[in-house]
C-alpha cells in the first residue's frame, strides 16, 4: 500500500477480516482499503466467497474476525442499528435485484426516499422516474410489479433503488450478469459517469471481464482464502496460476484487446 493512500481517508477500511458462513472459512485475514472515488472489482472462482465478502462488509453476515470501518465509523457486530445508520450513505444492489415484490418499481425506489427524507409525493415520483430513466428502463416500468419484469430489468430496477439517495458508496453484486452486452456496456458507462460526477466509490463483485477492464481502477482477487489486490497490470504479473488463467485465458485476452482497440 503506498503512503499516498494513507493520507486520504479510505471510504472502506478492512483490517484482518475473516469471513465465514456456516462455520466454513472463506476469506482469511484480508486487509485492504477502498479509496474515495475508486471502483474496486472483486473476482474469484464460484463459491470462493465474493458475495459473502460483500455481505460481511455491509453487515449482513457477521465477521468471524477483524474490523471493518466505513466512512471512518467502525461497523460493530450489533447489526441492525448499524445498518440503519449506514443505510442512507450507501446503496447495495443484490444479485437478483432483491426488489420488494409487493411494491411497484416506482414504490421500490421511493422506499429509501420515504424512510430517510421528507419529500412531497410529487417530487418523490419525479425522482423515481429519473432513476428509472437513468438506469435505462422504459418509463412504463414504473407501475409494474417485480414479478412482471425480466431478470435484467429487475437488476436495473434494483440499481435504481440503490441509487435513490445518491449514495457516495455503492456495493454491486454481479451488476452486469444477465444483461445483454449492449445494456452491460451502457451500465459500465453509467457507473463511469456517476463516478466522475458524484465521486462515487464502488465495490463491485463481477465476472464480467469487460467491466473489470473498462471501469475498475483496482481488482481484488480471492484465491486460496486470501485477497490479492492490485491494478490489472500488477495482477497480470502475479504468478499465481488461477490469476494467470483468469486474466490470460481466451476471454481475458479478448476483453483486453477490445479495450485496447477502444483506446
Amino acid at each position: 500500500m503506498s503512503s499516498a493512500s494513507d493520507v486520504v481517508a479510505p471510504v472502506v477500511r478492512v483490517r484482518s477480516l475473516t469471513t465465514s458462513i456456516g462455520g466454513r472459512i472463506l476469506v482469511r485475514d484480508a486487509t485492504f482499503d477502498l479509496r474515495p472515488g475508486e471502483v474496486l472489482g472483486v473476482v474469484g472462482a464460484s463459491g470462493s466467497g465474493k458475495s459473502v465478502l460483500l455481505r460481511t462488509i455491509v453487515g449482513l453476515v457477521p465477521a468471524a474476525a477483524g474490523t471493518i470501518e466505513i466512512f471512518g465509523d467502525e461497523l460493530g457486530r450489533s447489526g441492525q442499528t448499524d445498518l440503519r445508520r449506514f443505510g442512507a450513505r450507501w446503496g447495495v444492489l443484490f444479485q437478483d435485484g432483491a426488489l420488494f415484490s409487493s411494491l411497484t418499481v416506482a414504490e421500490n425506489i421511493m422506499v429509501p426516499l420515504r424512510e430517510q427524507l421528507h419529500l412531497s409525493p410529487a417530487l418523490m415520483h419525479e425522482i423515481a422516474a429519473l432513476k428509472i430513466a437513468l438506469v435505462g428502463l422504459p418509463t412504463d416500468t414504473a407501475d409494474k410489479f417485480p414479478a412482471a419484469l425480466s431478470g435484467g430489468m429487475r437488476k436495473r430496477a434494483g440499481l435504481a433503488r440503490a441509487l435513490a439517495l445518491d449514495p457516495k458508496l455503492l456495493f454491486l453484486d454481479e451488476p452486469t450478469a444477465g444483461l445483454d452486452p449492449i445494456a452491460a456496456t451502457e451500465f459500465d458507462g453509467l457507473v463511469c459517469d456517476l463516478k466522475e460526477s458524484l465521486g462515487l466509490t464502488v465495490f463491485m463483485v463481477t465476472h464480467d471481464l469487460d467491466s473489470l477492464i473498462a471501469i475498475c481502477d483496482r481488482i481484488a482477487v480471492i484465491v486460496d482464502q486470501r485477497v490479492v489486490i492490485g491494478t490489472l497490470a500488477e495482477l497480470m504479473r502475479n504468478p499465481h496460476p488461477w490469476i494467470q488463467a483468469y486474466f490470460r485465458g481466451p476471454r481475458g485476452r479478448a476483453a483486453q484487446v477490445a479495450e485496447a482497440a477502444n483506446g
Binding site: 423515481a128 429519473l130 414504473a142 410489479f145 439517495l165 460526477s197
Partner: protein
C-alpha cells in the same frame, strides 16, 4: 444549508445564480425555491452554476427540469460555469429524458367499494372454478396412479404422514384432553341439579366420538398442515421450482400433490382416533378428580353410552376432511404468483377455506346420517 437562487436582470436576459448544495437531502427546499422562479418576458435566461457547492443526480434533474420549463416558455437558456466533474452527470440526465410518472389516482369512494365487491365476486367465482378444475386434475392423476401403482411416490408420502401426523400427536392430544376436561366440567354443572352427573359421561362420549374429536383433529391439521402445504408449494412457485419440474417431465400434481393428499387421508383417521381417546381421557380424569366417578364406573357408563358404531361414524368423516384440507392447501399453493405477499395471502386463504369447508362438510354429514337414521 440554505439554498438560494439569486435572480438578476441583464438587459433582456434573466440571470439565475443558484447557490448551496443541490442534493437529494435538500431536494424539497430546492423544489420549493424553483417553483417561485418566473421567467416573465425574458428572452434569454442564463443559469450560472458557479455558486453550486455540490450536485447529485436529483439536483441535476431539478436543474434540467428548470431549463426545460424555461425553454417551454419560449426563452433561450444557457448554463454557465458547469464544473468539469459535473458535465458527464448533466449529459447523462439530458440523455435519459425522464418522463414524469403520475401518482396513481384515487377513485371516488362508493365506486371503489362497488368495484371492490365486483372484483371479489368475480375472483370468488374464478377461484371456485379453479378449485373444481384442480379437483378434476387430481382425480385423473389419482386414477392414473391407481392403474400404475408404481407411479406413487411412496417415500414422500410417508414423510408427509410423519410431518402431518406423528408430529401433530402432541398438540392434538393436548388440546383434545383440555376440551375433554372443559366439556366434562360444564356438562356436570348443568346436570348436577337433576342428580344426573353420571350422564356427563354420555354427553362427553357422544359429543367427542361423533363430532368433536374429528373436528378438533381436522381444524388443527388445517391450521398446521394445510398452511404448510400452501407455503411450501407457494415458495416453490416463487422459486420457479414447479416450472423446472414441468420442464423435466415431472408432473407436479403427481410429485407434490398426490403424496400430500394421500398421506393426509391415511393420517387424519388415526389422529381423529387419538383425539377421541385423549378427549375421553381428559373427561375421565375430570370425573375422577372432581365428580368422584371412579374410572371403572366411567368405563361401564361409557360402554353403555356408545357403541363401536359411534366411533366408526366419527372416524369415517376424517378421510373426507383430509382430502378437503390437502386439496385446498395444494391448490392455493399452486395459485401463488411470484411475490412474497401472495404467499401470505394464499396461506391465509388456504386455512380459512379449509376450516370453512370442513365445518360445512361436517354439517352435511350430520344431515346425511340423520336422514339415514343412524
Amino acid at each position: 444549508m440554505a439554498q438560494s437562487i439569486e435572480q438578476t436582470r441583464d438587459g433582456d436576459a434573466l440571470v439565475l445564480r443558484p447557490r448551496g448544495r443541490w442534493v437529494v437531502a435538500d431536494a424539497q427546499a430546492l423544489d420549493d425555491r424553483l417553483a417561485e422562479i418566473r421567467a416573465g418576458a425574458a428572452q434569454r435566461v442564463r443559469i450560472d452554476l458557479a455558486g453550486v457547492e455540490a450536485m447529485d443526480t436529483t439536483g441535476a434533474w431539478l436543474l434540467f427540469r428548470l431549463k426545460r420549463g424555461l425553454e417551454a416558455g419560449g426563452a433561450a437558456v444557457s448554463v454557465d460555469h458547469v464544473g468539469a466533474e459535473l458535465a458527464p452527470l448533466l449529459t447523462q440526465i439530458e440523455k435519459r429524458q425522464a418522463s414524469p410518472v403520475k401518482p396513481p389516482r384515487r377513485g371516488f369512494g362508493p365506486i371503489v367499494l362497488l368495484a371492490h365487491i365486483g372484483f371479489r365476486t368475480v375472483e370468488l367465482m374464478r377461484l371456485t372454478r379453479a378449485l373444481l378444475a384442480f379437483f378434476g386434475e387430481v382425480a385423473i392423476t389419482f386414477a392414473r396412479t391407481a392403474a400404475q401403482p408404481r407411479r406413487l411416490r411412496f417415500t414422500p408420502m410417508v414423510a408427509q404422514m410423519q410431518r402431518a401426523g406423528v408430529s401433530a400427536l402432541g398438540i392434538v392430544g393436548l388440546l383434545s384432553f383440555l376440551v375433554g376436561i372443559v366439556m366434562t366440567y360444564i356438562g356436570a354443572q348443568q346436570l348436577k341439579p337433576y342428580g344426573a352427573e353420571i350422564f356427563t359421561v354420555n354427553l362427553l362420549a357422544v359429543g367427542f366420538l361423533r363430532e368433536l374429536g374429528g373436528l378438533m383433529a381436522a381444524i388443527i391439521i388445517a391450521g398446521r398442515s394445510g398452511s404448510a402445504f400452501t407455503a411450501e408449494i407457494g415458495a416453490m412457485v416463487v422459486n420457479e421450482e414447479i416450472d423446472a419440474m414441468r420442464t423435466l417431465g415431472l408432473d407436479p400434481i403427481e410429485v407434490l400433490v398426490v403424496p400430500r393428499i394421500l398421506g393426509l387421508i391415511l393420517t387424519l383417521p388415526f389422529l381423529t382416533f387419538w383425539a377421541d381417546f385423549t378427549g375421553l381421557a381428559g373427561g375421565a380424569v375430570m370425573c375422577r378428580t372432581s365428580l368422584d366417578i371412579p374410572l371403572t364406573t366411567f368405563l361401564v357408563q361409557l360402554h353403555g353410552a356408545v357403541s363401536l358404531w359411534s366411533v366408526f361414524l366419527g372416524i369415517i368423516k376424517a378421510p373426507f376432511f383430509a382430502a378437503c384440507i390437502a386439496l385446498i392447501g395444494c391448490n392455493e399453493g399452486l395459485l401463488v404468483t411470484r411475490s412474497a405477499e401472495s404467499v401470505g395471502r394464499r396461506t391465509t386463504q388456504s386455512v380459512v377455506q379449509a376450516i370453512f369447508l370442513v365445518i360445512v362438510l361436517d354439517a352435511l354429514f350430520s344431515i346425511f346420517f340423520n336422514e339415514l337414521g343412524i
